[in-house]
Amino acid sequence: MASMATTALDSLPAPLRSLRLKTKQQELLLRVSALALIYVLAFAVRLFSVLRYESMIHEFDPYFNYRTTLFLSEHGFGDFWNWFDSESWYPLGRVVGGTLFPGLMVTAALLHRLLRALSLAVHIREVCVLTAPFFAANTTLVAYAFGREIWDSGAGLVAAALIAIVPGYISRSVAGSYDNEGVAIFALLLTFYLFVRAVNTGSLAWALASAFGYFYMVSAWGGYVFIINLVPLYVLVLLVTGRYSQRLYVAYNCMYVLGMLLAMQIRFVGFQHVQSGEHMAAMGVFFLLQVFFFLDWVKYLLNDARLFKSFLRITLTCVITVGTLALGIGTASGYISPWTGRFYSLLDPTYAKDHIPIIASVSEHQPTAWSSFMFDFHILLFLFPAGLYFCFKRLSDAMIFVVMYGLTSMYFAGVMVRLILVAAPAVCLISAIAASATIKNLTTLIRSPQTTSGKTTGSKAAARGAIDQSLPFQHNAAIALLLGAFYLLSRYAIHCTWVTSEAYSSPSIVLAARGHNGGRVIFDDYREAYYWLRQNTPPDAKIMSWWDYGYQITAMGNRTVIVDNNTWNNTHIATVGRAMSSYEDEAYEIMQSLDVNYVLVVFGGVTGYSSDDINKFLWMVRIGGGVFPVIKEPDYLVNGEYRIDKGAAPKMLNCLMYKLCYYRFGELTTEYGKPPGYVTSLTLLLAILMLLDKYDRVRGVEIGNKDIKLEYLEEAFTTSNWIVRIYKVKPPKNRS
């Protein structure tokens, strides 16, 4: 390409010819412009959601993050740090400042302040919406640097391009998904890059930088536990394989001590680095490394194999005894806390299902299906093993790190759906090595002189010809393979764009469906309901709902909730679950004791919205039953089957949740049974088609209890598509 450019430029007039760049400069220019394009692409591809819907915060957790960011930017850091939130977990409240990872909020608030200082008057919401795409774009730069560090700049570029559009990462970083992961993946990759760099150079400064990267990661996301376990594991592997070097010693020790100290400044993490079992591996490896270094040093001083052996025996027995004793005493005395359930469920995928329903109930904690691997990685799934082959061919310290990162994160991605996100950068890096190395080999084959034309010029060409004669169609085959590679890569790009626009750009607070004529129908029921709460209920009203909607109600409805998505108090959630699954009179007592004024349920029976409360109901029963044995799951099932139709269990048909969801559902038929001319909107037309005879569109059955009377609650508001229904709890009756 460079030679073609020069010949083209040679024909230009003299003044233009001075613009001619050297090959190296051309390469640099190409590289920088490609990187700049990738940067823009990574940002732009995540804007589908803004274009399709509007600039808004998505899903559940981001609403909490948005609310706290708003608080931070209005009240300053000091108040934020000491914030006691009485609007959630009524009547307990929540110490927000001490129970969250502040990295995301601080980042957004700083960006907001920076933009204001540049006299760009943007609302904090726009900053929050665009934080994740901005950091995703920065991640591409880190991926480029990482790829260059472990292979070459070509692989770095490919890695940046792959990571810019990999669906596994996009799923959590589209505009509006203002969640911890958005900045955390950037921090994760940055920490790893800086650490590898520190190991390669053995410089304290890089190790310090990686400690700061770790600090940022700790401040942003609980996934930092992955770093604090992967890095010691890596050190251990290097020790075992005899690749120990003093560069490693410098990098790990500096990073560990400073990183640990910095991490302790985050209140939510606190002393966990010295007290929790999940962090003990790092400390163990730290001490092991000291011992190893000391032995190495003594060996160097002694220069005598026999003496050293006896020395080794003494020290090793001492160290192992002391270490086991310390660990045993620490665990037995409860000083070192045992591993948490989430950690166990990572190591043993079936653990959560048996022991902790609250973790198992979250859909993103389920084991990953093959289809979602394919969906999120596409061709990277095939390039990944090929990349591993290249990695093993050119094994170095940095390579071992990337391989270990790839393999462990792939395992975790198989255990939990949401951890595909952590695997995505590793998969991109390793696949990039495969793609880049393959394409490079193929292009060198094509650019080398044609050997089939004859072995005439020079001894070198003759020698090469002699090797190549075993492959007669090498040139053509290389071209074909290259075309194949480009076809695959373009398919990847198309797939990623499609996935982003179709699957991952939905805010899930505004729902979109395809009507029967292909048009888009928008259901904005959630916001309708939350604004109704904001406008029509007293400011101190307490709303009871299942915990999924807690964050949204506090952020958008500005009302106090009983439980929310921060599932810190299982008993409290179980109480709400118990209320939902009890008969109305029993539920009323519970609601009175919790001071509940309104009950909010989400119902998809009219629109066919499948993640509604009736589908979540069994989890409420399970979580409620886990704390209050009065609630028994078999009471709600018929022969182990979950039914809502005529054959459903009597307790199911009369529990509060069922009543609240299907209250007046029977009347809907008659209302929609009017002549077609009465119908105006497409939704209603659909409803008519499906709703004949009280037909639940999600479950696809006719409901079992059509005649529902409410005694202690009254309907307060139902949104236009019936997705959210709000009931007012009546005050206690007068004594007669």
Binding site: A205, A207, A211, Q246, V250, N253, L258, L261, F271, L307
Partner: protein, 114 residues
């Protein structure tokens, strides 16, 4: 155990002989490291006596000692002339890195003391 004790004596003797050949600047760093580790041990012993109540204070005390020691060992590795791994790193740069890390370490410690 006469054989064991003679072994130990031989060991210590050859160790001290070998150590005597170390350059003075490295010896100074070694002294610094030994002092830091000893301080950490004293603090741990004190904690055992009076309890660990302001746990952050105890942690910052011990970690400042351990951190100092570890950083000094890193410096020792980097300025050691016999070390082939760090031939390209000038001792000035190593010292500047050391100072920087110590600065960060102790600023954080000050924040953490409580």
């Amino acid at each position: 155990m006469p054989r064991g004790s003679s072994d130990a004596r031989l060991l210590i003797q050859s160790l001290s002989n070998a150590y005597a050949a170390t350059p003075t600047n490295l010896k100074i760093i070694d002294l610094y490291v030994v002092f830091a580790v000893a301080t950490a041990l004293v603090q741990v012993a004190y904690m055992g006596l009076v309890g660990s109540f302001p746990f952050n204070s105890f942690l910052s005390g011990v970690l400042s000692c351990i951190g100092t020691a570890v950083l000094a060992v890193c410096l020792r590795i980097q300025v050691n002339k016999d070390n082939k791994e760090f031939k390209d790193l000038p001792p000035e740069r190593a010292f500047a890195d050391f100072i920087l890390c110590n600065l960060v370490l102790h600023l954080v410690i000050m924040n953490f003391l409580g």
